[in-house]
């Protein structure tokens, strides 16, 4: 048996992974980052800092030019087994317009070949989790942008992931809707002990959601600094209204300002 317990195994280990694009542009300088299970890590930084690239590396959507990435101390083939499932939520909901909401959420289960009855049960659960039970038989175009994003999140949750990767999922929504979805996400992550890696442009969102914020800088894309948010979970509106929250946002804003100054090409 391992001397360390299973929960101490980091979900993701990035060991000097770097990315040079086909056109020679250096997307990411070698990055060193470890994400523990149950952590909510946000990636924030000026545009071109490679936060989306880093997320795609973690999702194995692209491969590092050099360096290594481990998932639960193993290769990507470890991902998919019980306790090691990964889900990705894009910036757009990317729903199938011709399929009803429940069929959209069932898609990953259908693709995995799960039998219909079990799949339908899990779809019903996922719909309830995001509060869309009444919308099950509707089509995506009949829903608002916020509701469509909820569907996209339900489609990720239905696979019962342990590691949830999100690329600016609420970037296109109005602030009110975004705040509500942030609250839901914090609650869901807490209840399900999810490990999250979340790309965002919003300081408030990052502080509200995260246990740790990785601030990145551009030219080349790199980790500029880290920022710990040691407020207890689950969080709600009172945390958002607290002086502590305002102070944290101010500090993160300062750090981001330094990062953007450091991002100017030499």
């Amino acid at each position: 048996m391992n001397a360390i317990s299973e929960t101490d195994v980091p979900a993701v280990d990035i060991l000097s992974a770097e990315k040079v694009f086909a056109n020679g542009a250096r997307g990411l300088a070698p990055i060193q980052l470890s994400i523990r299970q149950g952590e909510f890590v946000s990636l924030i930084g000026p545009s071109g800092c490679g936060k989306s690239t880093l997320l795609k590396l973690i999702a194995n959507l692209i491969e590092p030019t050099d360096g290594k990435i481990f998932w639960w101390r193993g290769g990507f083939d470890r991902v998919g087994s019980a306790g090691r499932r990964l889900a990705f939520v894009f910036q757009d909901p990317t729903l199938m317009p011709w399929a009803k909401i429940d069929a959209n959420i069932r898609l990953p289960l259908d693709l995995a070949g799960l039998d219909r009855k079990a799949a339908d049960r899990r779809v019903a659960q996922a719909l309830a989790l995001v509060g869309l039970t009444d919308a099950a038989r509707r089509y995506p175009r009949q829903l608002s942008g916020g509701m469509r994003m909820r569907v996209s999140i339900a489609r990720a949750l239905v696979t019962e992931p342990n590691l949830l990767l999100m690329d600016e999922p609420f970037g296109a929504l109005d602030e009110f809707t975004r705040n509500r979805l942030d609250e839901d996400l914090v609650r869901l992550s807490w209840e399900r002990r999810l490990t999250n890696v979340f790309v965002t442009h919003s300081i408030y969102e990052a502080v509200f959601l995260s246990s740790r914020i990785v601030v990145m800088a551009a030219n080349p894309g790199r980790v500029f600094g880290e920022f710990t948010v040691d407020a207890p979970f689950p969080r709600g509106q009172d945390f958002r209204n607290s002086d502590r929250f305002a102070g944290l946002c101010r500090d993160l804003s300062d750090l981001l300002m330094q990062a953007s100054i450091a991002s100017v090409a030499a």
Binding site: D92, T94, M96, W98, D110, L111, P140
Partner: protein, 267 residues
Amino acid sequence: MMLPLVRNRWFGRVMAPLCVGVLVLLAWEWVCRAWAIPAYLFPRPTAVAHAFMDDWRGLLWALWSTLRVTLKAFVASVALGTLVALLFVQSKLIEISLLPYVVLLQVTPIVAVTPLIIILVKDTETALTLCATVIAIFPVISNTTIGLRTVDPGLAAYFRMNKAGRWATLWRLQIPGALPFFMAGLRISVGLALIGAVVAEFDAGTGGRSAGLAYEIMQASFQLDIPRMFAALAMITVTGLVLFALMVGLEKVLLGHWHESSMERET
């Protein structure tokens, strides 16, 4: 007063074009009478109607013959065209190898080939169907191929991420996504099938081996029975309109709930 009537959807879609048609017919009737244009030059609408009433059985029988060829050709085009399109998207090599011949089929004037087909194929109706299919198949192939290729890149990435196989991707992503393109292809194809059937009948008619509306038109023109000619022509036109409307209806049923092209505007 007038405005609510114009705003009414049913009135706008049906009554307005119908009124235009009636006005044109009235004007046509009036011009023919006022200048006393003889029927063998340009018949009045009432004369055309009389010609139809005189032998509506014979004309309807001719229509049935043309319609049979049209529908057979249309079904063959849809089935074969879809199959070819599915084949095309499976591999670039297949498409590159076959596409020139599909285009060849399309650019060859069917009138020039019909006599040959009629000589080669013994059964007249089969020969006519073949000719009409050659014309009607192209929009099905090209539209369906484009539709199968035009996949939302976000969804395509999602399918790849979930390790979806070729069949799952085809069945769950490409085919439903191609449906609007496919339906647009059917709209064009059904009209072409009718045109193809009529054109082929003209060719076959010269050999005296046809029974369709085109044959009626030819017979009537030999006998200088111009009103009957117009009656047969009008039947072809109405048939084309009905077939087109049927396709639009089918499109609404299949796509109405999700695709923008078939959505009712909400104002």
